[in-house]
């Protein structure tokens, strides 16, 4: 029993064990099946990926024979798998392939992929540009057994590239065949490229100018360094037409118009410059002016006969005419005279614009101008029933009396013409330190704001038909403007439509005259002082400055706004500027910078006054400016002015010329450019003035009384602080080389009077003076 039990127990255990074993085996089997299934799945997945990837894929052996190729590649090329397998891959590629060894040599651990652009040929003979990426296949021993390659169809990329190339080609061809010159510049003003038109214009090949500074093409006398020069060109030409004197390779100069536009490339800001040679247009302008002048003269001859005949008839010299005949003859005479007036106006304007109208400047009492003008229009005013109110004046201006009368008569006639019968036309004259202003006020219908500027243009009147109705030529105001501008003045109109207009002109009252060769030193000092500009909009401050500075013997001009201050600086020679920070809405730094960028004002002493310091000491000193806080300490201000003037002093030009008329012309020309000028008419005087204060530049005539040019140079050479003064010998004589040698100081140039143009003289003076200022040679 015990035995049977034991056997039964053992059997049960055995069955249990077997059952566990079976279960275990079943588990193993099921896991194996699962794994197999997973493997199969994964293989299908990879095969699908391999075959249907959006990219061609093949493998070759070391002989270049295709071992595997995916469906995408087959589809791309249009072959079946059988047609490709076992074939050398080169059979399908147009270009010659690299050998496997060569590829193996190029592949490194760091760069396991190597790519080529190739062209595959489809079964139907179509080339497909592709990008191939090769990766080496190695066996367990690291031996190379073949190459695995991905094949990417790059037709669309190629098409885009081709389109870009075509478009670039088209652009290039447009640029190359443009009539305008084109250059590209980098931010530093260095030339990057130019088109053939520009090459031709300047006589350089593009590659000769690559990385050269733009200034090689421009003939600008300027003391600016490259950076400043670039900045000034950009400022002047960016987005607008600017005029320059350009310089060819052969040094010939010609006028151009330049417009810069800006673009950006990854390397930074670039500029493209459009250049137009305007020599021809200038020439056409000149011919046109000449033509106008000739035609006008030619017209006068027949008009003389016509006018003469009509006047004789109308005047009854040939017997009394029947009433109707007298009427039409008077009509013809009136219109002939109008035609003559028109021709005279056109001629005047042409002469004014070409600078041929002579001006005879002198100090003239405004009273005379007012009186003469009044007399000239009195009869006309009576006839029109207008009362004229003309004041007396004690002011004096420096100008051409006849021309000023011409302007005022014109303004008065207009005022009378456009005033209602029975009304008044009044004149007022005011004097400020800088200007004498004359205002002519009418009670006419006024001028619409939009016309205010326009009416000073030629043939412009407020309404078409005015001219016929009122008998004007339409040139009067244009002539007035030109005359006033030749005086360094301004003309304008204040008007409200319906209530009347006030035409005004301002003529500088700064008297710069030369009466005799014999002048005392004091006279000269007083005359050569240019006014101080007060930029302040507060009338009290203006008065304060005026009183204080006049007491000190300075003359002052006022800029009542930043714009006006700039305008005055542009037009007048100013010795020093005092600027109230209140006036400068923009930050002072901008205004100062703007000022300093202009070579004309590079050395203008500037004193800023204001409530608080807005500029750092460094900015101030960089810009040669002094800041004085308000309230202003009188002595501090005067000291600052003395310092400023002393610093600016010495950078002037000493003109030595015994022909006072020529001297006056030269002085005027230089003053216009803001250059301070002292003058001497004898050798002795020149030496004395140079001793008093060494000039920045000496302009010397050779033939002089009381010591000629040679004596002057000899005397200055003896003094160490004077022998380096830059010298411009400006003479009518032909000098021998030996004589030239004797006439040498610092930087010395020679200019022959009859040969040099005004512009050449001017630009040479500016260049020499700039050099002098930079080198500090006047110190």
């Amino acid at each position: 029993m015990r035995n049977a039990d034991k056997q039964k127990k053992e059997l049960i255990q055995e069955v249990d064990a077997l059952q566990r074993r079976v279960a275990e085996l079943e588990l193993v089997e099921s896991q194996r099946r699962k794994t197999e299934e997973a493997l199969r799945h994964s293989e299908t997945m990879f095969r699908d990926l391999y075959d249907d990837a959006p990219i061609g894929y093949h493998e070759i052996d070391t002989q270049g024979r295709i071992k595997r190729v995916n469906r995408s590649e087959l589809a791309m090329l249009g072959y079946s798998e059988e047609e490709m397998l076992g074939k050398p891959v080169w059979d399908f590629i147009i270009e010659k392939g690299a050998s496997i060894d060569a590829i193996a040599a190029k592949v490194s651990g760091k760069k396991p992929l190597i790519s080529f652009e190739r062209t595959f040929l489809t079964k139907d003979g179509k080339p497909i540009p592709v990008l191939l990426e090769d990766r080496l296949i190695r066996d367990a021993d690291r031996n190379v057994t073949g190459i695995r390659t991905t094949v990417q169809d790059i037709s669309s990329r190629k098409r885009v590239e081709e389109a870009l190339r075509t478009s670039e080609l088209r652009m290039r061809s447009i640029i190359e065949h443009m009539l305008e010159g084109l250059i590209t510049l980098n931010e530093d003003g260095l030339i990057e490229s130019m088109n053939p038109t520009a090459e031709q214009m300047f006589g350089y090949k593009s590659e000769e100018l690559t990385n050269r500074h733009l200034r090689i093409l421009l003939s600008e006398p300027s003391g600016l360094n490259d950076t400043e020069f670039t900045r000034s060109v950009i400022e002047k030409a960016l987005g607008r037409v600017s005029e320059w004197e350009a310089r060819r390779r052969d040094d010939r100069t010609f006028p151009i118009e330049l417009v810069l536009s800006e673009f950006h490339v990854p390397e930074g800001r670039r500029f493209v410059g459009n250049i137009r040679d305007v020599s021809e247009r200038r020439e056409v302008d000149r011919l046109k002016r000449e033509f106008v002048s000739t035609v006008s003269h030619e017209l006068r001859t027949p008009l003389t006969s016509i006018r003469g005949s009509l006047s004789l008839l109308a005047g009854g010299a040939l017997g009394r005419l029947p009433e109707e005949a007298a009427e039409v003859v008077a009509l013809a005479e009136r219109n002939t005279i109008r035609l003559i007036t028109l021709i005279n106006d056109i001629l005047d304007l042409e002469r004014l614009e070409s600078g041929k109208l002579e001006m005879h400047f002198d100090t003239i009492p405004m009273e005379t101008v007012l009186k003469r003008s009044g007399e000239a229009v009195n009869a006309f005013a009576d006839q029109e029933g207008i009362t004229l109110e003309i004041p007396s004046s004690t002011s004096k201006v420096y100008g051409d009396g006849d021309r000023l009368v011409q302007v005022l008569v014109n303004l008065l006639s207009n005022a009378i013409k456009f005033s209602p019968k029975g009304s008044r036309v009044s004149v007022a004259a005011h004097e400020s330190p800088a200007w004498v202003e004359v205002r002519v006020t009418d009670r006419g219908r006024g001028i619409p704001a939009s016309h205010k500027r326009m009416i000073f243009e030629r043939f412009r009147q407020v309404e078409a038909g005015d001219s016929r109705q009122k008998g004007g030529t339409g040139l009067g105001l244009a002539i007035c403007k030109a005359i006033v501008e030749q005086h360094g003045g301004t003309i304008g109109v204040d008007s409200e439509e319906g209530t009347g207009s006030t035409f005004w002109m301002r003529i500088p009252s700064v008297v710069r005259r030369r009466e005799s060769v014999q002048r005392t030193a004091d006279d000269r000092a007083a005359r050569s002082v240019s006014p101080i500009l007060i930029g302040d909009d507060d009338p009290e401050m203006q008065q304060y400055f005026e009183l204080l500075l006049r007491k000190e013997g300075h003359t002052v001009v006022f800029g009542r706004s930043a714009e006006e201050a700039f305008e005055i600086l542009q037009r007048n020679q100013v010795s020093l500027a005092i600027l109230d920070t209140v006036l400068l809405e923009n930050s002072e730094a901008d205004v100062l910078e703007k000022l300093r960028r202009d070579p004309k004002f590079a050395n203008l002493p500037v004193i800023m006054v204001g409530d608080k310091v807005l500029l750092s000491a460094e900015e101030l000193s960089n810009n040669l400016a002094v800041f004085l806080p308000k309230p202003i300490q009188e002595e501090q201000l005067l000291q600052a002015i003395r310092d400023g003037l002393a610093r600016a002093g010495g950078k002037d030009v000493l003109l030595v010329e015994d022909d006072v008329i020529l001297l006056d012309v030269m002085e005027r020309q230089l003053c216009k450019d803001g250059i301070t000028v002292r003058t001497a008419t004898t050798g002795k005087e020149a030496i004395q003035l140079a001793h008093d204060r060494p000039p920045g530049l000496l302009v010397l005539d050779v033939g002089l009384p009381e010591g000629d040019g040679f004596d002057v140079v000899d005397a200055l050479r003896r003094e160490s602080h004077l022998k380096k003064i830059p010298l411009l010998v400006y003479t009518g004589r032909d000098l021998t080389a030996e004589q030239r040698g004797q006439l040498t100081l610092g930087a010395t140039r020679f200019l022959t009077k009859s040969e040099a143009t005004d512009e050449e003289f001017q630009s040479l003076v500016v260049t020499l003076l700039q050099k002098s200022i930079q080198s500090g040679s006047q110190a």
């Binding site: 006068r300 001859t301 006969s305 004789l312 010299a317």
Partner: protein
């Protein structure tokens, strides 16, 4: 008063003739150019010569020089009639010996009186 007008334009001569003769009551002689003018000046001894500036062949300047160079005509006052009236040109003409300058187109009704006043200003 005897006046000689030298001008190459026949119409102008005619107007001047009417203007100086009819209106001004002068005896008027005329010449169509410098050389004829010189001959008439020498033979007729006019009291004043009105001389055109721009003439072909011999212009006003040359005619004046010739008149001044001949002792028998050198003292005759010469007034220029010119369409070019820039001040410097007027001054130049005065410098080379003109007695006065009148501009074209002139007013025929006052031409004679203008001539007379120039002469009287110059003490003729």
């Amino acid at each position: 008063m005897k006046v000689l007008i030298i001008d190459d334009e026949e119409d102008i001569r005619r107007i001047a003739y009417l203007s100086l003769g009819k209106v001004g009551g002068m005896d008027v002689l005329d010449a169509d150019g410098g050389s004829e003018g010189l001959r008439k000046a020498e033979s007729e001894k006019p009291d004043v010569i009105l001389l055109d500036m721009m003439m072909p062949k011999m212009d006003g300047r040359a005619t004046l020089a010739a008149l001044r160079g001949n002792p028998s005509t050198s003292k005759i006052p010469v007034i220029f009639l010119t369409a070019k009236a820039m001040r410097s040109e007027v001054e130049q003409l005065m410098q080379i010996g003109a007695t006065g300058v009148l501009t074209k187109p002139f007013d025929p009704m006052t031409l004679a009186s203008q001539v007379r006043s120039i002469l009287s200003e110059n003490g003729h």
